[in-house]
């Protein structure tokens, strides 16, 4: 059958053209994952001949450590709070910038500045600003009479949480605002005009026209930000070091400590694998949300 042969040839050609990308993808994802699983089942002695198979011992160890379980909870809370605030604030900023005022271009340029600053640098600057002895924040809050005593931002758990969330929000809200601004500019004007003619006010317009049109953009921003927020390390490491006590200890700080300070590669691999599973589950759910809100993923 000439038609069947041609289809097979086309299929072979397709697979042939696809194969370099597939091989690359396998090398970049499957191989490291297999490597991770292999090490998670071994006690790894980097500096001696003591590497040996230990079964699930590394998993038992990390999953029975209350500090690490707490770090999982801290990480999830951090991501949920940071992303929620960034979506809310990002939407407000996007709505402001979408009004096409003469100052819009300048404001947009200013708003995206934090995106260009390395997280470590941002954290170092925040650390100095928040120092209760010589930082600007407490100094001005006291000067303006807002507070009578300096606030120990990094020595109190609640304040330390405000600081790490504040740093993340300062750094990443512009990214969310840019995505939502693109969404706002893509909203067709016909339904807006029609609603206005029907007497809809600003709140009704936002609720019934703008928000439904923005849903897919909000979902995209949420997924992107959640992925990045789960990867947060440098900012929190520099700003709080996981403290006070271990109240802001994210799972990435534990991973860093196990792998690169204790050089306990087996335990770090086991923890990394557990984190990968958690991320896969969370991301799967988020992609479902994204899929419900975007035509592209539904198809």
């Amino acid at each position: 059958m000439p038609g069947g042969a041609e289809a097979r040839r086309a299929a072979y050609l397709g697979w042939g053209l696809l194969s370099p990308a597939l091989v690359l993808l396998l090398l970049m994802t499957a191989v490291p994952t297999i490597y991770l699983v292999y090490y998670s089942l071994h006690h790894v002695d980097l500096l001696g001949p003591g590497t040996h198979f230990v079964g699930l011992a590394n998993f038992r160890r990390v999953l029975s450590d209350p500090e690490i379980l707490r770090s999982f909870a801290v990480t999830i809370l951090f991501v949920a709070l940071a992303v929620a605030i960034e979506i809310g604030l990002g939407l407000a900023i996007a709505l402001m910038l979408a009004r096409r005022l003469p100052e819009t271009n300048l404001l947009t340029a200013l708003f995206i500045l934090p995106l260009g600053v390395a997280p470590v640098v941002s954290a170092l600057v925040f650390r100095v600003l928040l120092d209760p002895a010589y930082g600007w924040i407490d100094y001005y809050l006291q000067s303006w009479g807002v507070i009578s005593q300096p606030i120990d931002w990094l020595g109190d758990p609640l304040n330390a949480w405000i600081a790490i969330i504040g740093l993340d929000v300062w750094q990443w809200t512009p990214f969310v605002a840019l995505i939502l601004l693109a969404g706002l500019q893509a909203i067709p004007q016909d339904p807006v005009e029609a609603a206005r003619l029907d007497g809809a006010g600003p709140v009704a317009l936002f609720w019934h026209i703008t928000l439904p049109f923005l849903r897919s953009f909000i979902a995209i921003a949420m997924v992107f930000r959640a992925i990045e927020a789960f990867k947060t390390f440098a900012g929190v490491e520099v700003l709080t070091g996981g403290g006070p006590g271990s109240t802001t200890e994210l799972i990435n700080l534990d991973l860093y400590r196990l792998a690169l300070q204790d050089f306990d590669v087996g335990a770090a691999a086991a923890l990394g694998f557990c984190f990968l599973v958690l991320l896969s589950v969370v991301m799967q759910q988020m992609l479902k949300v994204l899929g419900r809100n975007t035509d592209i993923l539904e198809e």
Binding site: L47, P132, A133, Y134, P150, D152, G241, G243, P244, G245
Partner: protein
């Protein structure tokens, strides 16, 4: 035998020298097989891995041109900040890389490295190839030398307990080895504002009780003036503050003894931590932010004139607009002295292809002559003779005051860390306890009890059985 170091040093090779050398080499071959080979050819260069700021890399950089003059070949120096340095050193040693001939090693790393760092005891015993008087091993401060460089290869948790005389033959006889030569000795000292002390008619505190009294007297928050800094933030510094107090109050400042028992959850430990918490919470003699302070922030707080005293490892300086004077005192004692100390040493990569030359290089860099020159950049020397020289140098005393006098005396009574491959975890368990107590989240005795339980678990996980 005359040792030819390079172009600037001629070799006087006579028949008599040849006979003496032959006899010497035969003796060395019989006695010290590792070092018995003929001197290896001069390499094109040596490479050294060094710490950027923690071990005064400026001093080493300044000595590099002199090294080339003395040896006739270059020394390539790579410097890195602490965390990157540790990762780099461990990665190089784990992969068996010969790239770095000489590595700087911090004391907490060494228990894991006794099979990767070259023991140099045999080379020290056969130091005849070095210029006369260069090594002078007994010139090193004994406490510093034993805590930093002497380990039992197959029982790296053991501290040296064979007396305070540095005798390489005795070290070897007792199954220990020398793993490097100390280069930078850090110890907690007390920097204080001499101008404020004079104004308030107080003297440097000799005991911790006096310290609390002086700190209270010099605290006046309405003038933004506090008695002292402390480093109760989450990090190694909080453990170091606590272990210093623990030792001063009569406890074992090593925190964990050589039988793997946590020894900080003791009456002395509870007394020490309670005293520490009281300074911060009850007496309020520390500036706001103390429970998140580190070495760096404490130094900045003192430098900006907000505190009158500052126990620290750091070289302390005052901002020009503060306009005061700094003097130094030993960390006070209570029943004994016990300032925390930790020293860096220069060691030889066991995979190096230039081991003999690397040994000559570390002997040269840690020699009295080179360390004395490095005083100008405030290297913390490891030799007694260099401290004696520093105190007689009016240029140095004019510039640094009594810094070297206090540093030298403090090193003689310093207390090091436990020797554990998982010290980073043990350290963390203790600093979390100190930080939690310091900010009033838990009572000192509860914090210490929890930390001791955690440390026991960590030690068991790491295979340390009491």
């Amino acid at each position: 035998m005359t040792f030819d170091r390079g172009a600037d040093h001629g070799t006087a090779f006579t028949r008599r020298t040849a006979i003496k050398s032959g006899a010497g080499l035969a003796f060395a071959a019989a006695t010290f097989p590792r070092f018995a080979r003929a001197a290896t050819p001069k390499p094109d260069r040596l490479t050294m891995l060094y710490a950027t700021s923690e071990a005064d890399s400026d001093a080493i950089k300044a000595a590099v041109p002199d090294f080339k003059k003395a040896f006739g070949f270059e020394l390539r120096l790579d410097t890195m900040p602490y965390n990157a340095l540790q990762q780099k050193a461990f990665a190089e040693l784990a992969s068996g890389s010969a790239y770095y001939d000489v590595m700087i090693v911090d004391t907490p790393w060494m228990p894991a490295l006794t099979h990767k760092i070259l023991p140099i005891t045999d080379m020290v015993l056969d130091a005849s190839r070095l210029p006369a008087g260069e090594l002078q091993i007994d010139d090193f401060i004994p406490k510093v030398f034993f805590d930093t460089a002497v380990y039992k290869p197959d029982a790296s948790y053991l501290h040296w307990d064979g007396g305070s005389t540095i005798d390489p033959a005795e070290i070897k006889k007792r199954g220990f080895e020398i793993f490097g030569l100390p280069i930078q000795a850090n110890v907690l000292t007390l920097a204080y504002r001499a101008d404020i002390f004079a104004e308030q008619h107080v003297t440097a505190p000799q005991t911790w009780d006096e310290f609390a009294t002086v700190a209270k007297k010099l605290t006046d928050p309405s003038k933004r003036q506090w008695g002292t800094t402390m480093m109760a933030g989450p990090g190694d510094w909080a453990t170091d503050d606590f272990k210093t107090l623990l030792a001063c109050f009569g406890g074992d400042g090593h925190l964990v003894n050589d039988r793997f028992q946590p020894v900080f959850d003791s009456p002395e430990g509870r007394q020490a931590l309670t005293f520490y918490v009281d300074l911060i919470q009850k007496l309020k003699v520390t500036p706001p932010g103390t429970t998140s302070a580190s070495w760096d922030t404490a130094a900045t707080t003192f430098g900006t004139g907000l505190a009158a005293m500052s126990p620290n490892y750091h070289t302390e300086t005052l901002n020009p607009n503060v306009g005061g004077r700094i003097s130094y005192a030993m960390i006070p004692k209570q029943v004994q002295y016990g300032p925390h100390f930790g020293t860096w040493m220069l060691s030889i990569n066991s995979f190096s292809k230039n081991k003999e030359w690397a040994f000559r290089a570390i002997a040269w860099f840690t020699s009295r002559e080179v360390q004395t020159k490095a005083l100008a950049t405030q290297l913390h020397p490891t030799r007694r003779s260099v401290y004696a020289a520093a105190m007689q140098d009016t240029g140095l005393t004019g510039k640094f005051g009594n810094f070297y006098d206090v540093l030298g005396k403090s090193l003689e009574v310093g207390v090091g860390r436990p020797r554990l491959t998982n010290y980073a975890d043990v350290d963390r368990a203790i600093w979390i306890a100190v930080n939690n107590a310091a900010r009033g989240a838990v009572a000192p005795e509860v914090a210490l009890h929890r930390a001791a339980d955690e440390v026991r678990k960590l030690l068991a996980d790491a295979g340390y059985k009491p």
